[in-house]
């Protein structure tokens, strides 16, 4: 069988070396293959290939009822599992016309931001592992474990909980939940300075990251980048502000942006986002009623009226959208998941070409792709 995934050498040119990076390369965060043309240390061409983890969620979901689909959406971005349920649920809620009680919205928001911290901790650990630092990996996973324990106590699973549902959440929170979350925030705030000291403020890291992989503002918008990638290029685009959902309209928070657009800026934005998440959860904890309804009135058989709806949320990696087309039956006509890493990975040719090969790894970890979601 022919192999269509290679790039052809330029005739007459002998100094260009063509190498395959991936799909088994440990620093690609999954199964990404990039075919790279090298001129010495410099990358001359880069062609990314994805699809090694493709499961065709969208076809499977056409044969499932709306309630069943929620447990599939978890499995797209498994690092921030719970966040992936929300755009689909919001779209179906719009089509159903379901009211969500304010307490359920706040609980959802707390979980949503907890998973943002958890996801950024995984990114920080594995990203630094790519750059050769092993210690942050051990520390971040230890901190993330606390979030997963809180999640397991209430939602029923650590990574893929299937906890959000139409009209709210599945079950009321565990009695310790608010106490646990407050304790975690206090604990996490003592840890953040350590991460700043180990990573962001370290001149060793800065030498590796400043000025590497610069992405211009115009290119970021045109390429459809989202999340920390676009905000590090100076575009304050955040779905939480642009199209607020759940309890975000009532909460006050900033969108950290930075103008440089290099690897350092993308790291910096994610660090600041963790701080903002702590702020958001603290406000939500103050506002959330301790008791009350956690689920709105939903018909037992979910049958949205015919129509189509696109809803988006800001997960840890960026703009995650779900386009739900209903034909009035129990099964959806079409569901499209617009995943942020899929769009962000299109930047690989823009960012890689001209960079040094060692910097390619740094650039890739600053994009933070998760392949469950790229390949769906």
């Amino acid at each position: 069988m022919r192999n269509p995934t290679t790039i052809e050498p330029v005739p007459g040119r002998t100094d260009e070396m063509i190498i395959n990076m991936g799909p088994q390369h440990p620093a690609t965060h999954g199964v990404l293959k990039v075919v790279i043309g090298l001129d010495g240390e410099r990358i001359t061409r880069a062609v990314p290939h994805i699809g090694f983890l493709h499961r065709n969620h969208e076809k499977i979901e056409e044969a499932r009822t709306y309630t069943q689909i929620i447990s599939y959406t978890d499995r797209m971005d498994y690092v921030s599992g719970l966040q992936n349920e929300l755009p689909f649920i919001l779209a179906v809620e719009d089509l159903l016309g379901v009211e969500v009680p304010p307490r359920a919205k706040l609980i959802r928001t707390i979980f949503f931001e907890l998973f943002r911290i958890a996801s950024h901790l995984v990114w920080l650990g594995t990203g630094m592992l790519d750059l050769g630092a092993i210690t942050p990996f051990l520390y971040t996973f230890r901190d993330r474990e606390k979030i997963l324990e809180i999640t397991e106590k209430t939602a029923g699973a650590r990574m893929l909980p299937n906890y959000f549902t139409f009209g709210g959440v599945r079950r009321d929170v565990h009695p310790d939940f608010f106490k646990d979350v407050a304790a975690f925030l206090d604990f996490f705030e003592t840890r953040l300075p350590d991460y700043y000291a180990l990573v962001l403020d370290s001149p060793v890291f800065q030498a590796r990251a400043v000025g590497v992989g610069v992405l211009s503002k115009e290119r970021a918008i045109a390429r459809g980048a989202s999340g920390p990638v676009i905000r590090a290029s100076g575009v304050p685009y955040d779905v939480r502000k642009a199209e607020p959902y759940d309890a975000y309209p009532e909460l006050e928070f900033e969108i950290p942006t930075r103008e440089e657009g290099d690897v350092y800026a993308r790291f910096w934005v994610r660090f600041r986002e963790m701080e903002e998440s702590v702020k958001i959860i603290r406000q939500a904890l103050e506002k959330v009623p301790k008791t009350g309804p956690y689920k709105g009135k939903v018909p037992p058989r979910v049958k949205p009226k015919p129509g189509a709806r696109y809803r988006a949320v800001e997960i840890a990696r960026g703009h995650l959208g779900a386009y739900v087309v209903s034909d009035g039956s129990e099964y959806p006509a079409r569901i499209k998941h617009r995943s942020p890493s899929f769009a962000n990975l299109q930047l690989i040719p823009d960012l890689f070409v001209g960079a040094r090969f060692a910097d390619a790894i740094a650039i890739l970890s600053s994009l933070d792709p998760v392949f469950g979601e790229v390949d769906r």
């Binding site: 044969a63 959208g321 386009y323």
Partner: protein, 161 residues
């Protein structure tokens, strides 16, 4: 934009344009000039009587949202590519080609993206089951009498002849 064949409706908080496939690119060019600079998504889907392309756009400055869709028949599923307007839709168009089978004329690199190159079918079409096998009793629905867009009223101008 007056001579373009499209119908504009408002669903929830979005403007939805149903557009004739021949005017698809012209309408998107006009929308890009209006300030819809951020490509949110591009979806290909099977409507039962043909294939549909849905483009979701967003204006970073204005905060406005727009959805544009057009239908093409099964036997000639070609729409013009808009990757030169929004380079971010490059992979989305490849995905729509790969999974649904819509051809984008003028796309710089229209290859399969998620499936292997040696696949022969486009699995998201309704004529295949979840396993990728053709359904024996599948028949395409007839093309709708009134398409979602507005056909030009003045057919006596010579368009019909």
């Amino acid at each position: 934009m007056t001579e373009l064949r499209y119908k504009k409706t408002t669903e929830f908080d979005e403007e939805v344009y149903a557009v004739h496939p021949e005017d698809y690119r012209a309408l998107l060019e006009a929308l890009k000039a209006e300030g819809f600079d951020y490509p949110r998504s591009l979806t290909g889907m099977d409507t039962g009587y043909g294939l549909r392309v849905v483009v979701h756009l967003y204006g970073i400055e204005s905060g406005k949202k727009a959805t544009v869709f057009t239908d093409v028949p099964y036997d000639d599923p070609v729409v013009p590519s808009v990757t030169d307007l929004w380079p971010g839709l490059e992979w989305f168009e490849r995905e729509a080609f790969d999974l649904v089978g819509i051809r984008f004329a003028g796309h710089p690199d229209l290859r399969r993206i998620l499936l292997e190159e040696d696949w022969t079918i486009h699995p998201l079409q309704k004529r295949y089951d979840t396993g990728g096998y053709p359904l024996p009793d599948w028949q395409p629905a007839p093309w709708p009498e009134t398409p979602p867009w507005e056909e030009p009223q003045a057919s006596e101008e010579g368009g019909e002849a």
